[in-house]
């Protein structure tokens, strides 16, 4: 039976109560307890800093050359917190409510409320570390809006919020390294967990520079290894983002929660050709000021500037007057796809819509002119002033757009299209962030926890840092308090031997295939199956086909993949092969989960289950549960269900109209 361990009592007391009653480890004992943290993005780096500060002996691992390069660095738009600095009606409750509703009532109330409670502490902590958030002229912090909310609660640092938060967490981690509490292993990839007497007690990692396998012991193991959007090949994730750590844990007994919940982000730079290696996000913050439209006429091939105002369809404003361009991501993405599929798309591929800044430039320009006391300004002056404001707010994003497309977004509207961005699914964890393997925890994007079937913008950074700075320091103590007598287990233990052997043999098998097709070509094919049949719209037939195709692809991979080079050297193709092999297995599970969930909710859209207006239609009676899959054997899983109870935020049909 799945026990989510949500504390009893009223929603807003649960976390306080938990903290007041959980077991503690005294400082002298902490010094003897070792913790392994795999992954040093926001979740891992913050956990490493916080646990190091508490006095635990921590080892951290990442596959990049430095913790500062984790994928979190690329987050652009901002981080939410219920500070209510704007006096616009925000509160812990509202952040909780927006998040549960935004997730289409598929997240746990208890977890989400805790997240909303600690959100304010995150901002305090980051400012104290020197994170330079945007400020107003009075010297106080500035906020902007994000999708799915009607308040301004998003803190930001230009379009580089993730970078600034990660540098803060990284510096806190480096400080613990300098103090001797944390040891960092960069360019290391975890390839298995080690279980002894049913508990997670260590990992097998490969030193990517030398190719050697290493054994590391820990009283507990934390996986903070990020999301698996790259299963689609093309996504906004960094090239190295992968599912391997989570997948190995899954195979060793950790259940996988809601694998099919994928977030397709509405505003990304469209695909330009077959050579494309990744997609680039244009931050959701751009929807604060930008307006999205397509021509009213099908197949209109005029330039944007030649299409008069009354021949433009601002379809989000038309369909969703209450939220307009700031509807949640799943809604905005589907609306873009609907327009393009119906033949209204723009650009050469016709798979794009416009994100237009002309109005914003004009509006800001007029405001600036008033501020500067310029009377009757001409159009040029307004434009110039307006452009300066837009540049200050979004300059780095506009620059990035221009570098990639060669077009100037201050002059021509940007072309955008939805792209895979985030995975709400991940390892199933209980309230304490522990997986179904005792002693194995999962934090950040890698777990399934707080976002239900659709994540609201600016909430992933919040969740990663909440998990690392403010949740795990308490919940891990509750487990380790019973482990203070466990002496470090030598890595000569047979369990370590066996795990290492398994990893070694798998690598040798891969290298020996010496087939004809490159790893990349397999990855691309997997991505295409996933995007076509398990992407923005899914149906029974497509999913069934996808499962068969993926099983076939797996066979082909294991008999015909070609990996150059040797094992005992830096060999990025081998690293990639390890990851793609796991993506293939995950892809199958995602399709299976999507097939099982015969309802639409959030980012999971089953064509069979929609309202007359084409909105996602949930089936609460049959699917108000978390799907937690247990691995039995290749292509064989058992489904466990965790019923979701809503005591405070009662499920309704989500409406943003």
């Amino acid at each position: 039976m799945l026990n989510s361990k949500i504390p009893a009592g009223p929603l807003d007391n649960k976390w306080t109560d938990y903290k007041g009653h959980c077991k503690l480890v005294n400082p002298a004992n902490k010094r003897h307890i070792e913790i392994i943290i795999v992954g040093t993005g926001l979740a891992g780096a913050s956990a490493a800093a916080a646990l190091g500060e508490l006095g635990y002996k921590v080892k951290t691992f990442c596959f990049q050359d430095s913790p500062r390069r984790a994928h979190s660095i690329a987050a652009q738009g901002g981080i939410n917190a219920a500070k209510n600095y704007q006096n616009d009606g925000d509160s812990t409750f509202r952040l909780f409510y927006d998040t549960v509703k935004g997730g289409d009532y598929r997240a746990r109330e208890g977890n989400v409320h805790r997240l909303a409670e600690v959100s304010a502490n995150i901002i305090d902590q980051c400012v104290a570390q020197g994170v330079p958030f945007a400020r107003e002229y009075g010297g106080l912090l500035s906020n902007r809006s994000f999708g799915g909310t009607q308040v301004q609660r998003t803190f930001y640092a230009a379009g580089q919020t993730g970078q600034q938060l990660l540098i803060g967490a990284y510096q806190a981690q480096e400080r613990q390294i300098a103090l001797g509490n944390v040891t960092q292993y960069s360019r290391h990839e975890m390839l298995d967990i080690v279980k002894i007497d049913g508990k997670a007690r260590g990992i097998i990692a490969r030193n990517l520079v030398t190719g050697e396998l290493e054994r590391h012991f820990g009283h507990a193991v934390l996986l903070c290894t990020g999301g698996y959007g790259n299963v689609f090949y093309l996504s906004t994730n960094a090239m190295g983002s992968n599912v391997t750590a989570a997948w190995k844990a899954h195979v060793k007994g950790a259940f996988f929660g809601n694998p099919c919940y994928t977030q397709i982000h509405p505003t990304c730079i469209p695909v330009s050709g077959d050579h494309q290696s990744k997609l680039t996000l244009m931050s959701e913050s751009l929807r604060n000021d930008g307006r999205i439209w397509v021509p009213k006429k099908q197949g209109d091939s005029r330039k944007a500037s030649e299409i008069p105002e009354d021949e433009r369809d601002y379809y989000l404003e038309r369909r969703y007057p209450a939220f307009g361009n700031l509807v949640p991501r799943d809604v905005a993405s589907r609306a873009a796809k609907e327009r393009c599929d119906a033949g209204y798309g723009v650009g050469t591929s016709k798979q794009a819509v416009y994100l237009d800044y002309a109005d914003a430039i004009d509006r800001y320009g007029k405001i600036e002119c008033r501020k500067l006391g310029i009377n009757n300004p001409d159009a040029d002056t307004i434009r110039k002033q307006g452009m300066a404001v837009v540049k200050a707010k979004y300059g780095n994003l506009f620059d990035m757009y221009e570098k990639i497309t060669g077009e100037n977004p201050y002059e021509i509207p940007m072309r955008i299209y939805p792209a895979v961005h985030y995975t709400m699914g991940g390892l199933w964890v209980d309230y304490e962030l522990m997986t179904t393997v005792p002693g194995l925890y999962c934090l950040g994007e890698a777990n399934f926890s707080d976002h239900g079937a659709n994540r609201l913008g600016a909430s992933a950074l919040m969740q990663g840092l909440a998990d690392g700075y403010f949740v795990i320091p308490y919940t891990i103590g509750n487990y380790l308090a019973d482990d203070i007598r466990t002496k470090p287990i030598p890595t000569t233990d047979p369990a370590f031997e066996a795990a290492e052997k398994e990893v070694r043999e798998r690598i040798e098998t891969l290298m020996k295939i010496k087939g004809k097709q490159t790893v990349e070509s397999f990855h691309k094919r997997l991505g295409k199956i996933m995007w076509d049949k398990c992407g923005m719209a899914r149906n029974e037939k497509g999913l069934q086909e996808a499962i068969v195709e993926i099983q076939q692809l797996r066979k082909e991979f294991w008999s015909d993949v070609r990996i150059p080079g040797d094992i005992k050297e830096m060999n990025p193709e081998l690293d990639k092969a390890n990851r793609v092999a796991d993506f293939i297995e995950l892809g199958e599970l995602m399709c299976k989960d999507a097939l099982n969930r015969r309802e639409s909710c959030g980012g999971h859209f089953r064509e069979e289950s929609q309202t007359e207006e084409g909105e996602a239609m949930r089936d609460d009676e049959n699917f108000q549960y978390v799907a937690a899959w247990e691995f039995k054997a290749v292509s064989n899983w058992e489904l466990h269900k965790e019923e979701l109870k809503f005591e405070v935020a009662k499920p309704t049909q989500r409406s943003y109209k």
Partner: protein, 254 residues
């Protein structure tokens, strides 16, 4: 934007590992689209090398959005290639035309040993941060974020310096292999904020000491670093660092 295809000659540094002497090898790449990124051109070449049974070229990269700082190619004598304020991954092939020859090398500096081909070891940067590139505040100790207003201009300037991506182009461009631009960006980020004030003196002294230990050269103000920095970190930070250092040296009694 008009798109076009091109054929190019690449001269790429190949080095099996840190002990190998290394040499240039020449490759022809065909039908490269002007819409590709520079690294996608390398992807195409690598796929071809693998198909031919040859060893693909190893290079660092991850975000491909100009923010993680991993990519690091020295292209025709300039870190990150010909574009201003740009990273290797954001360089696009429309910067080149049919028939061009492009020479690609790794960062070269004693403190950045080559791992393989175009990939170098930049862990020295982490150790410099360990020497003091942080504010010592334990989790849970913070006061309300708005308790201490910070002048917008100062906050913005701190942010401009905190935008350094730790790529090391500054070192690669410098004839002395100096890391002063990187170091001064961090010292300035923290010195400009009131939160950074209590540790100001030790920070400057300790980080400079670590810099010397890692084998980076001294700064002779040639300005090459500023010219290639993808995040336009200003060389005026080096003057700020020097004054921080002097101030610290004069007043710290240890």
């Amino acid at each position: 934007m008009e798109h076009y295809n091109m054929n190019l000659t690449l001269k790429v540094w190949r080095q099996k590992n840190k002990d190998d002497r290394g040499q240039f090898e020449t490759y022809q790449v065909k039908n490269i689209s002007s819409e590709m990124s520079f690294l996608e051109m390398f992807d195409v070449l690598n796929e071809e090398l693998i198909r031919e049974g040859r060893d693909p070229i190893t290079f660092d990269h991850d975000c491909r959005e100009g923010i993680c700082g991993a990519c690091s190619m020295y292209i025709d004598g300039r870190p990150h290639g010909p574009w201003e304020a740009n990273t290797t991954c954001q360089l696009h092939m429309r910067a080149y035309k049919d028939g061009d020859t492009i020479v690609v090398e790794p960062w070269r500096a004693k403190a950045f040993p080559v791992i393989k081909d175009l990939m170098v070891d930049r862990s020295a940067f982490d150790r410099i941060i360990q020497a003091g590139g942080y504010i010592s505040v334990n989790t849970g100790n913070a006061v309300d974020a708005n308790a201490m207003p910070i002048e917008k201009d100062k906050a913005d300037l701190a942010f401009a310096n905190a935008a350094c991506i730790g790529c090391g182009a500054c070192v690669a461009s410098c004839k002395n292999s100096s890391a002063m631009l990187f170091l001064s960006a961090k010292v300035s980020h923290l010195a400009l904020l009131p939160q950074g004030d209590p540790e100001r003196k030790d920070r400057a002294l300790n980080m400079v000491a670590q810099l010397d230990k890692e084998g980076f050269g001294g700064c002779t103000n040639t300005g090459a670093c500023e010219a290639v920095c993808p995040k336009e970190i200003s060389i005026s930070n080096i003057a700020r660092l020097n004054s921080e250092y002097l101030r610290a040296g004069l007043t710290v009694d240890k």
